[in-house]
Symmetry: C2
């Protein structure tokens, strides 16, 4: 069989880490007789500077015909004033997530060994965050009045629908039901964000009825950040909105050894469009092109991609190779491609 894979390497370290992910992915599927048919797309800050394009309609239409998307990272250097702030993020990355209805933003957090954690006693960390990906404060529904004057008013609207919340909450419970601890924690701030918060809370109570084997609890987002550093072992499956999920998953990545290891999937569970897999880290322009970036997060994103497409045996083999590699790391510097080579060799 064949996987039609769209590849968007992007900016900065994106191309370097994606090259390693493809190296490993290709070898893993080849062993099962699967052909990886790649189509590479030039998109991102560099491409915008060259062409003024963020995500043309034809490219989006073409991406829809693929089985999955492997995404590197996008974003200009922080000091680069040629690019209006956030334009690539919103008109390209977020546009992909919203257009392709990536409502499950899946971000696993696992501590491999204790080497990398900034916590003194991290304990066993193994949870997943199911972040809503198509609603909340990310909908782009804001505005400003009297901009630039002393009378300016700027708004941002968080939009939450029963439809959108229910499908992602159900996904979280379904994932929890397949895990050892079978526990879902809803994170929100319903004592302040009453309307959105109560929709989330009521939805969790309702969906929980369908999964009697899954337990659940609730944490305000501020309290959740405390547990993330004092007792991350308490988490099994976290379900939360788009913005709280953004914040919690960066923090989770940090406590499990850094965003060099954090993978994510932007998943359309209804399969009405291809899902997209990307490292949580950004384009890190400061170290780009120097073979300094850790490709592990990109490789683990390829694992999530294989899982989503049903190639679970290949996924498990890459995962095992990654774990073996990570657990023997001694902090010595290896080039991006050396890490990719080592993991590919261990397959």
């Amino acid at each position: 069989s064949t996987i039609n894979l769209a590849v968007i390497p992007g900016d900065g370290i994106g191309p370097e880490v994606i090259a390693e992910a493809l190296k490993v992915l290709e070898k893993a599927v080849a062993a099962e007789g699967v052909v990886l048919e790649q189509t590479h797309y030039k998109l991102g800050a560099e491409h915008w500077l060259a062409t003024g394009e963020t995500l043309p309609d034809e490219v989006l239409a073409d991406l829809r015909t693929q089985d999955a998307i492997l995404f590197g990272a996008v974003g200009a250097a922080p000091g680069d004033t040629r690019i209006p702030s956030g334009i690539i993020e919103r008109e390209m990355l977020l546009k992909l997530r919203f257009s392709l209805d990536h409502y499950v933003n899946l971000r696993p957090s696992r501590l491999y060994g204790t080497v990398g954690s900034p916590l003194a006693n991290p304990g066993i960390i193994d949870f997943i965050v199911v972040r809503e990906g198509t609603e909340g404060p990310y909908v782009g529904n804001g505005g400003s009045l009297r901009t630039g004057t002393p009378h300016e008013v700027a708004t941002e609207v968080s939009l939450n629908t029963a439809y959108g919340v229910e499908r992602v909450v159900r996904d979280a419970f379904r994932r929890a039901s397949t895990r050892d601890r079978k526990h879902v924690t809803l994170v929100h701030k319903h004592n302040v964000l009453v309307y959105a918060g109560h929709l989330w809370k009521r939805t969790v109570e309702a969906v929980a009825q369908e999964f009697p084997e899954v337990t659940h609890d609730y944490l305000h987002v501020d309290a959740a950040t405390i547990f993330m550093v004092t007792n991350p072992s308490r988490f099994d499956v976290i379900v939360t909105d788009n913005l709280f999920g953004d914040i919690l998953t960066d923090l989770a990545a940090a406590v499990t050894g850094g965003i060099g290891l954090a993978a994510s999937g932007n998943i359309n569970m209804d399969r009405t469009a291809p899902s997209m897999f990307e490292p949580v880290h950004g384009s890190a322009p400061d170290i780009a092109g120097q073979q300094k970036a850790d490709p592990t997060a990109a490789i683990l994103s390829a694992v999530l991609l294989l899982d989503h497409l049903g190639y679970t045996a290949a996924a498990r083999r890459i995962e095992a190779a990654v774990i073996a590699d990570v657990e023997t790391r001694d902090g010595g510097a290896r080039s991006t491609s050396a890490v990719g080579d080592a993991i590919a060799a261990a397959l």
Copy 2:
């Protein structure tokens, strides 16, 4: 002279920790010939259960006549279904912050010794968060349509004004200008929350002109949580919106040894109404009435209160006594009043 002090002990551990704060406060100001004239107000979840009152207009009017408010904690036990979720928080605590125009929510984070930090290598941590207190997603401007049906839509609106952002940003720069490192970090998410984010960013750029001796940088909120656990020493003064400030200060409290030590001030810098000082922790109903709560956060809140009222000598003396006490803690259990006694004795 006399300090007319409103005392709102509240629920759970509130009364216990406030008793110790008053013990220390009273002794510290008495040494300077200042009389502490206390008026105690019964407010909170218990009071609501007994009377149905959250914050009656007459009480609010009376509070306005006081010099300052010392606040314990409010909130019902998590399982208590008699109290509609969040009603005390919003109609009492947040109503106080908004009505009394507490636009500077000041939350210092300092690591005393390294004993309590969950971080393996915390380094020197000494920063303050200037959290906006009267705007943002906390304004209560949300709604829900077709509530409880599959077609429900729930919204939350973040409101941000040039007036509101500028005064808190200026306060942050002013505070930074009196500190050693003189550095302000704006935390927001302007690549997604474009309108609010750009108002904050433009305001910081503009106000920075008035403080040429103060440097500044910017972090997205997700990145800020990473630095909070990998390099908290990098922070000097953080200025941020109401919701991001809520999240960051709980995380900051955790990395500096827990919310048993985290103090806060809800400050009206224009002095058009009394400011309010409260520990960051909540009412902790599970340990209430058992003399198990740490009163240090309440005592340090009294320090912020004295600073605000201009009694800086008394403030420094309490602070020194707290630091001496905290740095000699050996993890052994002491009762709430034993901690208060020890700090009072050390004055």
